[in-house]
Amino acid sequence: MPSKRYAKANRTRCVSCGACVRECPRGAVEIWRGCFARIDPAVCVGCGRCREACPADCIELLQREAAS
């Protein structure tokens, strides 16, 4: 069963430092070509560790839609 929440990074505000990549226990985060962090919602379990690590405070946890 998928987690209730998943993390999403703000592409505009992300500084692509990779702090979230290091922190993610699931390896769900990648820095897309040095531009911004991308978090795979299928792998993310919504633990929020990346959000706590992000120096730009640009990651938010979203509720998964009931259907998916």
Partner: protein, 198 residues
């Protein structure tokens, strides 16, 4: 925790850099590695591999709070990671770097003589004469080393202060190298975006 990689120990490099420069200022030249390698990765690889995996300073800022709890772990003010501040800070750093080059050039040309001081935050002069024996290398080489060590010391101290006050890697959100390499990567990817919106 994820398994350790060989490159997870580069924080030692950052500590060693300042220790070596304390005893012999010429080691300051090694800091050019931290200046050039990220740019090479960005220009030729179009990535931020340096920031993401190799940066010793970023690792030190991660390791210190983990081991000693020396960070409040509070979100930093938004303006610290805003584009205008990041680019202004980059401009400031490039200006200071340009000044180091200019001072070294003046010493090279004989217009100025070598000053064996490390300047803290571009203001406070720290006597550093023990770290250099006059005449070991051309004076301009030593002048650049003193200047560059000052720049590295100032930026690391700013990083440590930001780490203590806010989140461990707050420095990374306005690090001049990070801003520069991300700008290069974004230029290389102009108009291209991943198909999904993750």
């Amino acid at each position: 925790m994820k398994p350790k990689h060989w490159y997870d120990y580069f924080w030692i490099w950052t500590v060693a850099y300042f220790a070596l420069g304390f005893f012999n200022i010429l080691f300051a030249w090694l800091g050019m590695v931290d200046f050039l390698v990220p740019l090479l990765f960005a220009v030729f690889g179009g990535n931020k591999w340096f920031c993401n995996r190799l940066c010793g300073r970023g690792q030190l800022l991660t390791v210190l709070p983990r081991k000693f709890g020396v960070s409040r772990r509070k979100p930093a003010p938004r303006w610290l990671s805003s584009p205008w501040f990041r680019y202004a800070f980059l401009a400031f750093f490039l200006t200071m770097f340009g000044n180091i080059l200019y001072q070294s050039y003046r010493v090279f040309g004989g217009a100025a003589s070598l000053r064996e001081v490390v300047k803290l935050f571009w203001t406070f002069r720290l006597p550093w004469g023990w770290a250099y024996t006059a005449g070991t290398v051309p004076d301009w080489v030593a002048q650049f080393a003193f200047g560059f060590y000052s720049l590295m010391l100032a930026s690391t101290l700013i990083g440590l202060i930001a780490m203590a006050l806010y989140r461990p890697r707050t420095w990374c959100s306005f690090c001049p190298m990070g801003t520069m390499t991300q700008a290069i990567c974004k230029l290389k990817q102009r108009g291209r975006l991943p198909e999904d919106t993750n």
